[in-house]
């Protein structure tokens, strides 16, 4: 591998090794075990035949939340650490474009998230097996959709960390996630003609702006479809891929624009 791809690969590889050697995966394994135990315990508390629903719903929620937390934490910390510890002083003077550094970081983090979701998914499947829930293809698609969701959050975290402190970046990125999860609710409120909860024109405009700007992260959660046995088509998954790709590219480009102008004083 040579040229730009080789350089991006070198940065991505380093990012992955950093997460791996910092024992991020050890913590992940512990969380995966906790996930299995928690979902089994919660399903014990479920009423009658709701045990399957609890395992599926809780499992997907936990995987989504953990992957988003991983995306925010790593996305926010890794760039800041390089600036704070001045390791970029060794990288930037080398023949590498700044956009290649951001792309490498992004791809390295995606590799980490892929492993996170894979391990958590395996734990989820194990919990379902124990509870004798049937495992089907749609559940694998649900995991793919979680990865797409995390890809947006990583790009957002990288963008904020290219100019803000880790705490601020973390708050912004996680806030972005929470708003993204609520856009479908906002859409429903705006669509409702009768008995509209929000009557203030200003708030309605603000809600509309949020719906237009923020991604609808609810699209990546298909737990309802799985519980109700509504098939999740590959066309839907592909549509979500394009949706996530569009948002990710937008924030990666913003991160690159900021990072290119950054001074390393």
């Amino acid at each position: 591998m040579s040229g730009a791809l080789g350089r991006i690969h070198a940065i991505a590889r380093n990012t992955f090794v950093e997460a791996y050697r910092n024992r991020a995966f050890l913590g992940l394994s512990i969380v995966a075990v906790l996930l299995v135990i928690a979902s089994l315990l919660l399903s014990q508390l479920a009423i009658r035949d709701q045990a399957k629903r609890v395992v599926i719903d809780f499992g997907q929620f936990a995987i989504s939340l953990l992957s988003v937390v991983t995306a925010v934490v790593l996305g926010v910390i890794l760039i800041f650490k390089e600036i704070d510890r001045k390791t970029f002083y060794l990288v930037i003077p080398k023949p590498i474009h700044r956009h290649e550094i951001i792309l490498g970081k992004y791809l390295g983090l995606m590799e980490v998230l892929f492993i996170v979701i894979l391990v958590m998914g395996a734990a989820w499947f194990l919990a379902m097996k124990v509870r004798e829930c049937p495992i089907n293809e749609d559940m694998a698609k649900a995991l793919i959709l979680v990865l797409f969701e995390a890809s947006i959050i990583v790009s957002v975290a990288l963008f904020f960390s290219s100019f803000a402190t880790p705490i601020m970046s973390g708050i912004f990125a996680f806030g972005f996630y929470l708003v993204g999860c609520s856009t479908s609710v906002l859409q429903d409120i705006l669509r409702a003609k009768k008995g509209a909860i929000v009557t203030s024109q200003f708030l309605r405009k603000l809600a509309k702006a949020i719906v237009y700007v923020f991604p609808d992260l609810g699209l990546f959660n298909v737990s309802k479809e799985i519980i109700l046995d509504v098939p999740v088509t590959w066309e839907y998954v592909f549509g979500c891929f394009l949706y996530a790709l569009g948002y990710s590219l937008f924030f990666i480009i913003l991160a690159i624009l900021v990072f290119r102008r950054r001074e390393f004083n």
């Binding site: 950093e18 050697r21 060794l90 930037i92 080398k94 390393f264």
Partner: protein, 319 residues
């Protein structure tokens, strides 16, 4: 003594800094800090160029601009005739920052491997180069140890190895001797001398003036963001001297010692005496020597130490 003129060598400029200014605005402050105030200098191909000055003089800021970590507020910097941000220029540069920080979870060999990939060096060549470089900097035994277990001196050696990975034409070293023990410094100096012999251009800043004096062809003294002196080290040490010396025959040592203008006196052999005096007293001393029947062999600028030159130029008291 180093020669100031290199005969038969085309003096191509590897680094050109023209009227470089850099100012920063610290957060929550109205006033800008002017780190560098319009400096101009060139570094010629194949020379060892020393960058001197007290802390806060603007040395590291200038180096950062040369390697593309910051952009000039005004002025222009060219490296191999290109912008410091150009890939062509970067490919020819090896850079060791001041107190380098590394990815401490990596082994030295892994760090060099990642940087080798960035330079686009092929797998086989990368492997061979990493082995040779680790041997060269004395870390062959520790190449498979993670960097967090390295001492400061060992990290400095890794820093040097990564700066030489691409076989650079221009090597920029910011305080390379810091953190090294006397043996390490000696090895480092020998390495710089051997790189110079290979025709590399070396630009380095150091607080250790003995190293600069021993290794550099030309120096630049920077203070408060301004160039105080630039040029051939030997010439600077003579030109900037406030003292002169006269070699005189046929005059009694005891007699000279009584002259109030004389700073120092040294008997070289049975006949020859060296008289040291302030440059401003040259006419008086010459007149007195002639009056006493002495024969003047020579009157020349007295070579001062580099430390004295830097102290004089930066008006800093020696501690």
């Amino acid at each position: 003594m180093k020669s100031c003129v290199r005969i038969g060598v085309k003096m191509e400029h590897v680094i050109e800094v023209k009227n470089f200014h850099k100012s920063f605005k610290p957060p929550f402050r109205f006033k800008r800090i002017h780190a560098v105030r319009g400096i101009t200098f060139e570094v010629k191909r194949g020379e060892v160029f020393g960058f001197l000055g007290p802390n806060g003089a603007g040395k590291t800021t200038t180096i950062k601009a040369i390697v593309g970590l910051i952009t000039p507020s005004a002025g222009e910097i060219r490296v191999f005739g290109e912008s410091p941000f150009s890939m062509t220029a970067k490919k020819k540069i090896g850079f060791l920052p001041e107190q380098p920080y590394f990815y401490d979870y990596l082994k030295a060999s892994e760090l060099l491997d990642i940087f080798g990939r960035i330079f686009g060096i092929g797998a086989d060549e990368r492997k061979r180069k990493i082995k040779n470089l680790l041997e060269m900097v004395g870390l062959a035994h520790a190449g498979d140890r993670v960097l967090r277990k390295y001492s400061k001196g060992m990290l400095q050696r890794v820093g040097l190895a990564q700066a030489l990975l691409n076989d650079p034409e221009l090597i920029i070293l910011d305080e390379p001797m810091s953190g090294l023990d006397p043996i390490g410094r000696k090895e480092f100096s020998d390495l710089i001398a051997s790189l110079k012999a290979q025709g590399k251009t070396i630009f380095f800043s150091s607080h250790i003036l003995a190293d600069i004096e021993r290794l550099c062809d030309r120096v630049l003294v920077l203070d408060k963001g301004e160039v105080k002196a630039v040029g051939c080290l030997e010439e600077l040490l003579r030109e900037r001297s406030w003292e002169k010396e006269a070699l005189v025959k046929g005059i009694r040592e005891e007699e000279v010692r009584s002259w109030e203008e004389v700073g120092a006196l040294e008997k070289i052999d049975n006949e020859l005496v060296r008289i040291v005096f302030k440059a401003g007293d040259t006419n008086k001393i010459v007149a007195k020597i002639i009056e006493k029947g002495g024969v003047i062999h020579s009157v020349s600028d007295r070579r001062m130490s580099l430390e004295a030159l830097v102290m004089k130029l930066t008006e800093t008291e020696a501690k």
